[in-house]
C-alpha cells in the first residue's frame, strides 16, 4: 500500500472510475406522486426518454400513475398522443384527474402501425407526451422508440404486460406493478441511478 498522497494524482489523471461523482440533474417531469418522485433519480419521469410500465392486467391503476403528469404535459400547442389504447379513454375520469381532453389525441392503430405512429409522434416534437400500448415489441423496436424520444425531446410511456419484465429493454425507466403481497410499484431500472430497493405504494385517493 502506498501513501495516501499517491491517490490524488491517480484521481486527477482520470484513469480511475469514480462511481457516480455527481447526482443526476433533477430535470425530470414531476409525476404528481411524491413517493414516486423520491424514488427516481431525476426527481420525476425522464423528460426525453422512454418509460416502460409493466402491468399484470389492464385497469390496475396504470393511468392513475401517469395522469397527474399528463395534466401538465397536455397543452393546446403540444397535445398528448394516446396510441392504440386497450379501451376508450373515459372523458369524465380523465378530466377529474386534471387532464384537458381537448388536448388529448387518440390514435387508433393495430400491429406494427402502433410502433410506427408512436415513433412519428415522438420524432415530430409536436406532442407533449406519447402513450402507447404496443403489445409485442422487440428490443430493436424499443430502441427505435428510445432514439425517437431522444431526438424529439418528448417523454414516451409504454404500457406492457408484466411478462416482458425479463426481456432486456433500452428504456430509461422500467417500473412494474406487483400485486403480492399488496399492490405496490417497483422500479426495475432507472437511468442515472441505482433502482431503489424498496417498492412503494401510491395512495389510491379518489377512485
Amino acid at each position: 500500500m502506498g501513501e495516501p498522497r499517491f491517490l490524488s494524482p491517480l484521481l486527477e489523471s482520470r484513469r480511475v472510475w469514480h462511481g457516480r461523482a455527481q447526482p443526476a440533474p433533477a430535470d425530470g417531469i414531476p409525476s404528481g406522486w411524491p413517493t414516486l418522485d423520491q424514488a427516481l433519480p431525476q426527481g420525476g419521469w425522464p423528460a426525453h426518454a422512454l418509460s416502460e410500465i409493466l402491468l399484470p392486467a389492464d385497469g390496475v391503476g396504470e393511468l392513475q400513475l401517469v395522469l397527474p403528469a399528463l395534466g401538465r404535459l397536455a397543452t393546446r400547442e403540444r397535445p398528448v398522443l394516446v396510441v392504440a389504447p386497450p379501451y376508450l379513454p373515459g372523458v369524465a375520469g380523465w378530466s377529474a384527474r386534471g387532464v384537458d381532453m381537448r388536448h388529448v389525441l387518440v390514435v387508433g392503430a393495430v400491429g406494427s402501425e402502433i410502433l410506427w405512429a408512436m415513433e412519428q409522434g415522438l420524432r415530430s416534437a409536436a406532442c407533449g407526451a406519447v402513450l402507447g400500448w404496443p403489445g409485442e415489441a422487440d428490443d430493436r423496436a424499443l430502441r427505435r422508440l428510445q432514439v425517437a424520444a431522444d431526438t424529439g425531446r418528448t417523454p414516451a410511456f409504454l404500457f406492457r404486460d408484466r411478462r416482458h419484465a425479463a426481456q432486456a429493454s433500452p428504456a430509461a425507466l422500467r417500473i412494474e406493478l406487483e400485486t403480492r403481497p399488496q399492490p405496490q410499484w417497483r422500479v426495475r431500472k432507472c437511468r442515472g441511478g441505482q433502482p431503489p430497493a424498496q417498492a412503494f405504494a401510491l395512495s389510491r385517493a379518489g377512485a
Binding site: 385497469g59 389504447p85 369524465a92 381532453m101 381537448r102 412519428q120 416534437a125 399492490p183
Partner: protein
C-alpha cells in the same frame, strides 16, 4: 416598365421529358407533327439530335438516321396546358403576365424587383425555378415584351434597361428574331431587308399599303409606341393536370416520380395564386375501365410541395393496383386561402421536428381518416352517451364528483371473475326514456382479486350476490 421574356424553345418536348426520371436505357424521344402521310420531326432529344435528326426532317429520314426511337405525336392541348401552368408560375413573380404566341411568357419585373431584388439575382431565381421544373429556356430583359422576346432569341441573358437605347439596340438584330406576323421576314429577306434597323427606316405609309396595319402595330409594340393591348393573364380557379404515359405502369413505385411532378406543379400553381389546397383528387386511368379515384383530404389548407407529395403518396400506397395505369391526373377544385403557420424566432425545436398539423396528416394518411380523434363529454348522464368523438373545437368537460372510470368499454361485457369486493356504490343511473335508449342501472366500484378496479353495474334494485350477473363497463386504471 421592364419586361422579362422567357422563351421556351423546347416546351413540347420538355413537357414530355420531365415526366419520367432521366433514364440512360430509355430509347431516344422524337416529337413528330403533321398529317399522317407527311409526318415530320418537330423536336428531338439530345441523343436523337446527336444522331443527326433535326426539326423539319420527314419522319422517313429520321428512321433512316436512327434505328430505334420513340416517336410521339405532338399533343397541342397538352403543350397549351403546360404553357398556362408556366404562366401561373410566373404569376408569383409579377402581377402582369402575358402569354406570347410561340411558347414564350413575358412578365413585368420593374415593380417586382422591390420584392425579389435586383435583376441579376431575380434572373437567377427565375432560371433556378425553370431548371428545377425541367424546362430549357432563354431569358432577356427589355422595356417592352416583344423587344425582350426578340432579345432573348438573339442573345440569352441580355438585359436592356434604358428605353432610350431600345431603337438603336433593336436595329442591330436580324429580322427573323422580330417574329413578324405571317412570317413576313422571308418576304423582306427577298427584298434585301435583313436587319430590323433597315425595316424601321422604311416609310410607314408604304409598309401599310403593302403589308397591312398588323405589321405596323407589331413594330409599334416592339418599340413600345402604343399601350400593350393584350389581355393580362389571370390564374384559373382550379387546377387540373394529367400525365399520360407512353407505356403501361404496373407498379405504384413507378408513379412516384410523375406524382412528385404533379404535386410540385400544384404547389407552384398555389404559390402563384397565394392559395392553398385542402382536398384534391388523384385519378389513375386504366385502359377501357373507369379510372381509380383517390381522394386526398387535408386537415387544413397546405401548399408546400413536400407535404402535398407525402400525403398523396401515402394514400396512394394504400390502394391495390388491379390493372396497369395509362395516365395519372391531379385535380383540385377548391382552393381556399392559405395562412402559413407562425413560428417563434427563438423556437428551439430539434431537427426532424414537424408541425402538429403535419403530424396529424401523416398519421391520418397511413392509418385512415378516422384513426386520429379527440373525445369530448356530452351532457347525457348515460355512460354510453356521455362522451363522443369531438367534431370541431370541443368544450372542456366539467369534472364530476362522482367516480368515473378512466377506461371505458365501448360495450358493457359480463364480468366473470371470482373474489369481487364492493368498494363503492350503488349509484343509480336511470334515464333515456325519450329516445328508446332507456336504462335503469345501479353502478358499483368493484375490486378484483388481481387488484383491478372495475366499474360494473347490475339491473336497478337487484342486490348483487357473489355470483350475480355483473356487467363490466369500465376500469379505474
Amino acid at each position: 416598365m421592364l419586361w422579362a421574356c422567357i422563351v421556351l424553345p423546347h416546351l413540347a418536348l420538355d413537357t414530355l421529358l420531365r415526366r419520367q426520371p432521366p433514364d440512360a436505357e430509355a430509347p431516344p424521344l422524337v416529337l413528330i407533327d403533321g398529317p399522317l402521310q407527311a409526318r415530320h420531326v418537330l423536336d428531338a432529344d439530345e441523343v436523337a439530335r446527336a444522331a443527326g435528326i433535326a426539326p423539319g426532317q420527314p419522319l422517313a429520314t429520321a428512321h433512316a438516321l436512327l434505328a430505334r426511337f420513340d416517336a410521339v405525336a405532338h399533343d397541342v392541348a397538352l403543350t397549351i396546358r403546360q404553357h398556362d401552368l408556366l404562366a401561373a408560375w410566373a404569376y408569383r413573380y409579377s402581377a402582369e403576365v402575358l402569354r406570347l404566341s410561340g411558347d414564350a411568357i413575358a412578365l413585368e419585373v420593374q415593380r417586382s424587383q422591390r420584392l425579389f431584388g435586383d435583376w441579376p439575382g431575380f434572373e437567377r431565381k427565375l432560371r433556378d425555378d425553370l431548371a428545377a421544373m425541367g424546362f430549357r429556356h432563354r431569358l432577356a430583359l427589355a422595356p417592352t415584351p416583344l423587344a425582350a422576346r426578340a432579345l432573348a432569341d438573339a442573345a440569352d441573358g441580355a438585359a436592356l434597361t434604358e428605353p432610350g437605347q431600345l431603337r438603336a439596340q433593336l436595329a442591330k438584330l436580324p429580322l427573323v428574331h422580330a417574329k413578324l406576323p405571317d412570317d413576313l421576314h422571308e418576304a423582306f429577306a427577298r427584298m434585301g431587308v435583313h436587319r430590323l434597323g433597315a425595316l424601321l427606316a422604311l416609310p410607314r405609309a408604304g409598309l401599310r399599303r403593302r403589308f397591312g396595319a398588323a405589321l405596323l402595330e407589331h413594330l409599334d409594340d416592339l418599340l413600345g409606341e402604343r399601350p400593350i393591348p393584350r389581355p393580362r393573364y389571370v390564374p384559373p380557379d382550379r387546377f387540373d393536370t394529367r400525365i399520360a404515359f407512353n407505356f403501361d405502369v404496373e407498379n405504384l413505385a413507378a408513379l412516384a416520380f410523375p406524382l412528385r411532378r404533379l404535386t410540385g406543379d400544384l404547389a407552384t400553381f398555389l404559390a402563384g395564386r397565394d392559395g392553398g389546397v385542402q382536398r384534391f383528387v388523384l385519378g389513375l386511368g386504366h385502359r377501357g375501365r373507369a379510372p381509380t379515384r383517390v381522394v386526398i383530404g387535408l386537415l387544413q389548407p397546405e401548399r408546400e410541395a413536400g407535404a402535398l407529395f407525402e400525403s398523396a403518396r401515402s394514400r396512394l400506397e394504400r390502394i391495390v393496383l388491379a390493372r396497369p395505369v395509362e395516365w395519372l391526373r391531379l385535380r383540385a377544385d377548391e382552393l381556399p386561402p392559405f395562412v402559413p403557420g407562425g413560428r417563434d424566432l427563438f423556437d428551439l425545436r430539434p431537427e426532424h421536428a414537424l408541425p402538429l398539423a403535419q403530424l396529424q396528416e401523416r398519421l391520418r394518411a397511413r392509418l385512415g381518416d378516422d384513426a386520429v380523434y379527440r373525445l369530448e363529454a356530452t351532457p347525457d348522464p348515460r355512460p354510453e352517451h356521455a362522451q363522443r368523438i369531438a367534431t370541431d373545437d370541443s368544450r372542456a368537460a366539467t369534472p364530476t364528483t362522482l367516480p368515473r372510470p378512466t377506461w371505458l368499454l365501448p360495450q358493457p361485457v359480463p364480468l366473470r371473475t371470482h373474489g369481487l369486493r364492493v368498494l363503492a356504490g350503488p349509484e343509480r343511473i336511470e334515464s333515456g326514456w325519450w329516445d328508446g335508449g332507456d336504462l335503469r342501472r345501479d353502478y358499483y366500484v368493484l375490486e378484483t382479486a388481481e387488484g383491478q378496479r372495475a366499474w360494473a353495474f347490475c339491473p336497478a334494485g337487484e342486490r348483487p350476490g357473489p355470483q350475480a350477473g355483473w356487467m363490466l363497463h369500465g376500469w379505474f386504471a
